[in-house]
Symmetry: C2
Subunit: 92 residues, 2 copies
DNA sequence: TGTCTTTACGCTCATCGTAAGCATG
DNA sequence: CATGCTTACGATGAGCGTAAAGACA
């Protein structure tokens, strides 16, 4: 599992469509699809239902979405916080 | 930034020593050292002070340690939670 | 010289993108 | 056919480990 996988998952969950999510992430469909499959494999359960129009979250996916968003938000916070403490290069 | 980097950072912070942390992570020193350097580079600030005995956390590192532990804990929780919802293979 | 961390470097494995395959209406 | 996800496959890039190189007392 990687942060990239989580970002991919959230994008697909929001777009409900691998192709659109891929464009949003500046990626092509296949790697993004593989991210989702790898995640499902690692978690031991399906996160999406594959429909005619695209991808719809299953209950396990909904649960995981909350966690994923929270993790990504904390990663953001961590980076911004520490960057806020960083001495700028121009300060020496 | 990756989850692996966070795990490496926490291990080094706890062991205060790249060599020991590397053994704990079943890794050799160089890649682990590179993880820390990459993290410092990405965050734009030093996280450790290099001392004669090893590595000591700087203030920015202490702050980041809290965040890192929290993120890793949430990742764990996310995985366990969703795995708990997973239909087991033996259940069909 | 001894103890650590870091850099160099070759190799392996992971991951990307193009192209082809599969499923559905 | 049209649309959308997945698998195949060659090529690039990230990451490991061994070995060598700083840094410091």
């Amino acid at each position: 599992m990687s942060i990239t996988h989580l970002q991919s998952f959230v994008a697909v969950a929001e777009e409900k469509h691998v192709g659109r999510a891929a464009r949003r992430l500046h990626l092509t469909q296949p790697p993004l699809s593989r991210h989702i499959l790898a995640l499902e494999d690692e978690l031991g359960t399906r996160l999406f239902e594959r429909t005619r129009q695209g991808m719809r979250l299953l209950p396990a996916g909904e649960v995981f979405l909350h966690h994923a968003r929270r993790i990504l938000a904390e990663v953001d916070t961590a980076v911004l916080t520490v960057r806020g403490l960083a001495p700028r290069e121009s300060d020496g």
